[in-house]
């Protein structure tokens, strides 16, 4: 008599369930990366080849991370967290630098720039906190054990 595998015994084909937040983040990341890539020729013409290549590389990197997040590849979560932290640090440095340049022309400019930065900083922190949650970690680690 042939044995018929039941759903309770066959878990080899179990697929990872992608959290909705990860779907949203990865789609936004992929769209942003595609916009970056599409803007590369314009960037090259307007700001020079070096700047264009930098944006091309950034777009390609974001595209890879976005696709990896969508596919729940374990390293993508760590890389996405690191990218968010680097982005936060860089935005602080750039704001401080641009603010110091503008301060001579327009007193109080750096304060305005810092205030304008608040929403993006909070959103980055929300994304970092979300990516560090146990449920997200579990979604990326389900293959082990």
């Amino acid at each position: 008599m042939a044995e018929i595998p039941t759903p309770a015994t066959d878990y080899s084909a179990q697929s990872k369930k992608r959290p909705l937040g990860i779907t949203v983040i990865s789609i936004l990341m992929i769209l942003g990366a595609l916009l970056n890539l599409a803007g590369t020729p314009g960037n090259m013409i307007l700001y020079g080849v070096l700047y264009g290549i930098f944006y091309l590389a950034l777009g390609a990197f974001d595209l890879i991370i976005g696709i990896a997040l969508f596919q729940l590849i374990p390293w993508a979560r760590i890389v996405a967290i690191i990218m968010q932290i680097i982005g936060l640090v860089l935005s602080f440095i750039v704001t401080a630098w641009v603010g110091s340049l503008l301060e001579a022309l327009l007193p109080g400019a750096s304060l305005i720039l810092y205030l304008a930065m608040i929403p993006s900083v909070i959103i980055s922190l929300i994304v970092i906190l979300y990516l560090m949650q146990g449920s997200v970690k579990a979604a990326f680690d389900s293959g082990k054990w």
Partner: protein, 212 residues
């Protein structure tokens, strides 16, 4: 009202447990921490007017002598592959300590930040800035929009419902299992029961098929 193992709070297992007034407020987490010290199975439910609002279950049991860790893994994984466990992701803290997590985010909330952004952009077209006073109004408007956007975004990503089932397995044989149901678990008690049965090996793994 807080119920422990189906009865009122101060009559748990015939033990003298401080009355609920011992805790400043009916904090189910504090009660669960307190009951953990007894190392006995318990089921705490916070009942309110609408019904049971919050539950924490904690149980310990031993498996049969011949059940190995590989068999336990097989049982947990097979439960995850079943209808009841398909929404649960497995977080492996260590070989003998795992957490099964079900997280549900409201897809509707996901749309709120986008709707806010679109409405804000649409309204901006109709706002003209002839004077500084109106400029201040526009700045206030932008701040409000950003605040609403961030709150919606934060609620979507960090405010979802999570159910956690903690499983700890002992190293010695027979394997001693500690199970704990926590989080937004009111709708997940049946999942917990089915997992418990699966781990104990009380489920029918096979039966007469169509091709008997």
């Amino acid at each position: 009202m807080i119920a422990v193992n189906g009865s009122k709070f101060d009559s748990f297992g015939g033990m003298n447990i401080p009355p609920s007034s011992y805790f400043n407020e009916p904090d189910i987490n504090k009660i669960a921490i307190f009951l953990d010290e007894y190392r006995l199975p318990y089921r705490v439910e916070l009942n309110q007017i609408e019904g049971i609002d919050y539950v924490i279950y904690s149980e310990e049991f031993e498996l049969d002598d011949n059940v190995t860790m590989d068999e336990v893994k097989h049982r947990v994984k097979s439960w995850q592959a079943s209808y009841m466990g398909t929404d649960y992701a497995r977080l492996v803290k260590s070989e003998r300590d795992i957490v099964l997590i079900k997280s549900k985010q409201d897809a509707k909330v996901c749309c709120y930040p986008c709707i806010i952004a679109i409405i804000a952009a649409f309204l901006m077209v109709f706002i003209r800035v002839p004077y500084y006073a109106v400029m201040a109004l526009v700045v206030g408007y932008i701040i409000l929009i950003f605040a609403a956007f961030i709150i919606a975004y934060g609620y979507f990503f960090l405010g979802g419902k999570k159910t956690e089932i903690h499983l700890t397995f002992s190293f010695e044989m027979p394997i001693h299992v500690k199970m704990r149901l926590d989080g937004n678990a009111v709708d997940s008690t049946s999942d917990y029961e089915s997992l418990k049965k699966n781990i104990q090996g009380h489920t029918k793994q096979s039966g007469p098929g169509v091709l008997w």
